[in-house]
């Protein structure tokens, strides 16, 4: 069970979790793009099978942090990182960790839907084919399961061979979620997954997020505070690359400890 702990009262207020309940542990993590610092000495634990939201003004580093969790920054040669990120207690930057396997375990859904230019079925089966060793029958089962989990099956079951680009924006985003679920991740990172969608599609995606936490750890980055309040269990407020406050969502939104947090959630901070 979560334990509230005032880690460094002078700089912020943080909730902490027992190691057994922790999925991701971020310890003293900093990151800069070339000479430009983006994240500074972050320490927090993300609880297993819960939805954790990162909120904060644009440029506060919340997306940068999210992308660090499955090492997408590896592609960018300018990025310099320090500190540790542990998944189930093991450092994700350890040399013996295969980055492809890490990314399978820590799935990610991006802001704009990015289905591949192939059929709906092939999109979902993409990750499965990479892993290999599956019979066609079993692959079909997993594809169906993933599409059902993403609440898309009923809409596409008759046109699995149609191009994924023929789907609407909201359907595409759920397809991307299904694609990610199919490879069996433990953690799902969501980078403003609903920002490009219309209100109804947004509601569907939010409902999906709530349903998925039964089996997954979810980390959600959003600039939409109502959304964070609706779907997340815990919320971390980041500002200027630093963690300001990290608390159960209702506490943070109804009774923030720090003035900075209050200013942001009440809209007084631009």
């Amino acid at each position: 069970m979560p334990v509230m702990r005032e880690a460094r009262p002078a700089r912020g207020a943080f909730i902490d979790f027992e190691p057994e309940a922790t999925s991701l542990e971020i310890r003293g993590f900093g990151l800069r793009y070339g000479d430009k610092p983006a994240l500074n000495d972050l320490t927090l634990r993300v609880p297993r099978h819960r939805v954790t939201a990162f909120i904060g003004p644009s440029g506060c580093g919340k997306s940068t942090l999210l992308r660090a969790l499955n090492r997408l920054h590896d592609l960018n040669e300018e990025v310099v990182q320090q500190g540790e990120i542990r998944l189930e207690g093991r450092d994700i930057h350890a040399p013996e960790v295969a980055v492809a396997e890490l990314r399978r375990r820590v799935g990610m859904v991006f802001q704009a839907p990015n289905p591949f230019p192939m059929s709906i079925y092939d999109n979902v089966a993409f990750g499965l084919r990479l892993q290999g060793g599956l019979s066609k029958r079993r692959r079909d089962d997993i594809v169906e399961w993933a599409l059902r989990s993403a609440a898309l099956w009923d809409e596409v079951k008759d046109r699995l061979r149609a191009s994924a680009w023929s789907l609407s924006g909201g359907q595409q985003q759920r397809l991307v979620i299904a694609r990610t679920l199919a490879v069996g991740p433990e953690v799902l990172l969501l980078d403003e997954p609903a920002s490009a969608l219309d209100p109804i599609s947004t509601l569907k995606v939010e409902e999906l997020i709530r349903n998925l936490k039964a089996s997954l750890t979810l980390v959600l980055v959003t600039h939409n505070m109502q959304q964070a309040a609706r779907v997340s269990d815990y919320t971390a407020f980041l500002h200027n690359g630093e963690l300001v406050e990290y608390a159960p969502t209702d506490t943070l939104f109804t009774n923030p400890r720090l003035a900075r947090t209050e200013n942001y959630i009440t809209g007084r901070m631009a």
Partner: protein, 405 residues
């Protein structure tokens, strides 16, 4: 229930290994290919160097390449390129005639191509209807793709004999086309508005074509008249007698026309890019102040786009200098150094194409032709790089000024 896919460590390792291997192979291959392409410069330099630092004493003096030489049978020293003519004096290697021929051919082709291409670029950036413009581009791209050997053949075997017989007609055309176009403009303004709408300025490029054909007909009538009136009935004889200009059937002007035709599309495409890339806000600002579109071009767009236009001309020059087949087939290949545009010429590229297969590898002649190739390479590479740098700068400037819209 969640059917997790199998994750075997074996396969994981295999995939990782494959990825590393492929990355290494791509890196090696990519660098190899690029090195091979860049190797051209290295090869040329390595082969040319022995000319300047020979292992054995050189058979010819190098400064002789650039200075007039004593030629048997002539009183004064002269420039001669006679690599295979080995009578009493031995072969004569003097590069200036070739350099001269190359530059003369390029210059004449630019004289023809630059007004045509820049005029066309200005017209399509300013006046042309959007639909016509969208069609014009691919058409001119096709024109660019016409092989040099075909253009050279038509220039050498159709244009040259025709021009030789119809010099006066050509002169009449040259004199009639510009005023003819202005006349078309003047007449157009007198047309009733309904007809003006039928023949809009945006489509003038198309409906002026019959007008040009009409001009041609007029020139056919005017040509002989001109000839009998001013040139004693025979323009060619008049040129030879009065101006002292020899007329060679395949001459620099023919080369210029053919090669000009060949480089128009590339100059056009780049100049049009530069002009239509000028931020719209600039041009609209000037037009809001009451400037005509042409004034806008002259005062606002051209100053902004001039580096781009310049780089377009430079790239055209690069093409003209290196073009081989057109010069080979349309120039007569006589290594002369005269300023007479109606005489033949021989370019470096054509010399290489004709002489290199016969030159003994490693010999002086061979190395001199390689020196010519190196000069061509260096010139075009430099010109293109410069043009590329200018264009990159220009794009950055446009972005600062508000971006192309």
């Amino acid at each position: 229930m969640m059917p997790t896919p199998p994750t075997s460590t074996m396969r994981q390792r295999l995939r990782q290994g494959r990825d590393r291997l492929a990355t290494a192979l791509i890196t090696a291959g990519g660098i190899g290919v690029i090195a091979a392409v860049m190797g051209i410069a290295v090869f040329l330099v390595v082969e040319v160097v022995p000319l300047f630092w020979p292992a054995e004493p050189p058979r010819i003096r190098l400064e002789a390449l650039w200075l007039p030489q004593d030629v048997a049978g002539l009183d004064a020293p002269a420039y001669r390129w006679q690599p295979t003519l080995a009578d009493d004096g031995g072969p004569l290697f003097s590069l200036p005639p070739l350099v001269w021929g190359t530059l003369e051919a390029a210059a004449w082709s630019l004289v023809i191509a630059v007004p045509l291409a820049l005029g066309a670029a200005a017209h399509s950036a300013l006046f042309m209807s959007r639909r016509l413009r969208a069609r014009l581009r691919p058409t001119l791209e096709l024109m660019e793709a016409l092989p040099g050997v075909v253009i050279g053949f038509v220039a050498g075997l159709a244009l040259a004999p025709w021009l030789e017989r119809h010099l006066a007609l050509a002169l009449a055309l040259l004199l009639l086309v510009p005023p003819g176009l202005l006349l078309a403009g003047g007449l157009w303004r007198q047309l009733p508005a309904r007809l003006q709408r039928r023949l809009p300025l945006g489509w003038a490029a198309l409906w002026l074509m019959p007008w040009l054909v009409l001009t041609w007909g007029l020139a056919q009538w005017l040509g002989p008249l001109l000839e009998s009136q001013w040139f004693a009935g025979d323009l060619r004889a008049w040129l030879e007698v009065t101006l002292g200009l020899d007329y060679a059937s395949r001459n620099a002007v023919i080369v210029g026309m053919a090669m000009g035709f060949a480089v128009v599309p590339s100059i056009y495409a780049l100049a049009e890019d530069a002009l239509s890339g000028v931020p719209r806000s600039l041009a609209e600002g000037a037009q809001a102040l009451g400037a005509t579109r042409w004034q806008t071009l002259w005062r606002v767009m051209l100053p902004a786009a001039s580096p781009g236009v310049l780089s377009a001309v430079m790239i055209g020059a690069g093409r003209a200098v290196g073009e081989t087949m057109i010069v080979l087939m349309a120039s007569g290949n006589t290594a002369l150094m005269t300023a007479n545009p109606l005489d033949g010429l021989r370019s470096m590229a054509a010399s290489i194409a004709i002489e290199l297969p016969e030159a003994a590898p490693g010999g002086t002649h061979y190395r001199l032709l390689l020196l010519a190739a190196l000069l061509l390479f260096a010139f075009t590479f430099l010109v293109n790089t410069l043009a590329e740098v200018v264009r990159t700068r220009l794009r950055r400037r446009y972005r600062r000024l508000g971006g192309p819209s």
